[in-house]
């Protein structure tokens, strides 16, 4: 078919966490511009399997940009060359015939590589487990309309809650900092009346866990937000800094 592409891929291959990895060259032929980037990987893997090679391991699930599981660093950018989308939403029409595409895993010591392009992001789960919730048991709730929430606050909370936990912010940050991820959750809950009772303890616990996981510090370069597929704003980080300082300097809570 006309318009189809032949491409060279340089893909990070690594057997497991302990071994060293390297970029390996592959050629893919006759790639339709209508394919998604991951479908192009399917083609490559089918080809590798039939040749008797081991396919490339990579994380993916919903393939519609919401589950946050896909995680490739493509040509130097998390989720590839286009803004505000995930790798699974990237389509091959963003590339041209003859291109060389370098694909690497998210790189951060807090996200150890499991195999090839698959990394372990369970640090994010542990951060949420440390305080990214409202302590309300099933059955505790009062009527949903008892607490009116200004539309503006609901909208801010929603914009922060749009985070899909993919880790692109960490991957993009030169310090592998998780501030954008953590701040999105802190700020979501801080903007809702239900989140008030645990507001101070939450931010302290989550920041402590974040530091413990080995993410770097934020140096406000803004790369996280620029690469975020859900365009989570840097304002969240400032807001979390404020929350954190308040919790430590002003609040009388321990």
């Amino acid at each position: 078919m006309s318009g189809n592409m032949n491409l060279t891929l340089k893909i990070w291959r690594q057997r497991n966490t302990k071994t060293k990895g390297a970029l390996v060259d592959y050629k893919v032929k006759d790639i339709s511009p209508d394919m998604s980037f991951l479908e192009m990987f399917d083609v490559l893997n089918e080809d590798l399997i039939s040749k008797g090679d081991e396919p490339v391991a990579f994380d993916h699930d919903c393939r519609e940009g919401i589950c946050g599981m896909c995680s490739m660093h493509i040509n130097g950018r998390p989720h590839g060359p286009k803004d505000a989308i995930t790798t699974c939403q990237l389509h091959m029409r963003s590339f041209s015939d003859g291109d060389t595409i370098v694909v690497e895993p998210w790189r951060a010591n807090a996200f150890p590589i499991i195999k090839d392009l698959t990394v372990d992001r369970s640090a994010f789960d542990r951060i949420i487990a440390s305080g990214g919730y409202i302590s309300v048991n099933t059955g505790n709730a009062q009527d949903g309309n008892v607490l009116p929430i200004a539309k503006q606050d609901a909208d801010i909370a929603f914009a922060a809650a749009a985070c899909i936990g993919c880790g692109a912010c960490v991957a993009a940050c030169k310090n592998a900092s998780a501030m954008l991820f953590v701040s999105a959750k802190v700020n979501q809950l801080a903007h809702l009346p239900q989140g008030q009772p645990e507001r101070m303890t939450r931010v302290k616990a989550m920041v402590a866990q974040m530091d413990k996981e080995g993410f770097g510090a934020c140096t406000n370069t803004g790369a996280c937000s620029a690469e975020c597929p859900k365009e989570i704003s840097l304002v969240n980080i400032a807001a979390m800094n404020r929350e954190y300082l308040k919790a430590n300097l002003i609040s009388t809570e321990d």
């Binding site: 660093h73 993009a172 030169k174 770097g216 406000n220 803004g222 790369a223 304002v235 954190y244």
Partner: protein
């Protein structure tokens, strides 16, 4: 005080120190710049020398100087500490990075710019602070600070180093100024754009004024 250990222990606390000391140094830069600008009076350094003498003799100012050095030291120490810590967060780097798509090079190079500034600062302190505070080479009649300036800036290479130092300062400030407000949590839809603009012009103007001084002295525009 136990409640304040977060400043040392947490990443945000560390950053707060950077921001606060940074702002403190920015305030100093302003004072420094105003006093040095006295040379543009073109009065053979009379007013400038008076101001310099006041700064050198006044007890309150000298006491504050200790604070300044402390601030500077903390800023440098903490900065280097953060650079190394942050590097440890990613021990294997990407082979291809397209960072300019998502952030400014100088935002990502604060450690490098800071190190250049540190080198510049050592040279600068040797040139002026050392001779005026720790030796007897400067006196109000034979060899004023203004005279010393003219001597130092007679060398093209020194002028070049100073100009390069000021370029580093400009970029360092361009990130540092607005970043310190972000770290303290001051990001507001209404005020942040204005703050960023102030930061930008501050970062351009102050280093520009500073670098015109050696150039003007070198070219003999100021006598």
């Amino acid at each position: 005080m136990a409640a304040l250990t977060f400043i040392l222990k947490s990443s945000i606390g560390n950053k707060l120190i950077m921001g606060l000391t940074g702002l403190f140094l920015i305030a100093f830069l302003m004072v420094h710049c105003i006093i040095n600008s006295m040379i543009f009076m073109n009065d053979g350094g009379v007013i400038f020398n008076e101001a310099a003498e006041f700064m050198g003799k006044n007890v309150a100012i000298r006491t504050m100087e200790i604070g300044l050095f402390a601030g500077l030291f903390i800023h440098i120490f903490q900065g280097l500490n953060l650079v190394f810590k942050n590097r440890k967060a990613r021990s294997v780097n990407y082979s291809v990075q397209n960072g300019n798509k998502s952030s400014k090079w100088y935002s990502r190079s604060m450690g490098l710019l800071g190190t250049l500034l540190l080198i510049f600062l050592i040279i600068h302190l040797r040139h002026f602070w050392y001779v005026s505070r720790l030796t007897n080479e400067i006196s109000s009649d034979t060899n004023t600070l203004f005279d010393e300036m003219k001597k130092v800036f007679a060398s093209f290479w020194v002028v070049l180093i100073y100009v390069l130092g000021m370029i580093s300062l400009a970029y360092h400030l361009m990130h540092g100024f607005q970043s310190s407000f972000q770290t303290m949590g001051w990001n507001h839809k209404k005020y942040t754009p204005a703050l960023k603009m102030i930061g930008f012009w501050f970062s351009v103007i102050i280093p520009f004024i500073f670098s015109t001084m050696p150039i003007a002295l070198f070219l003999g525009l100021i006598k």
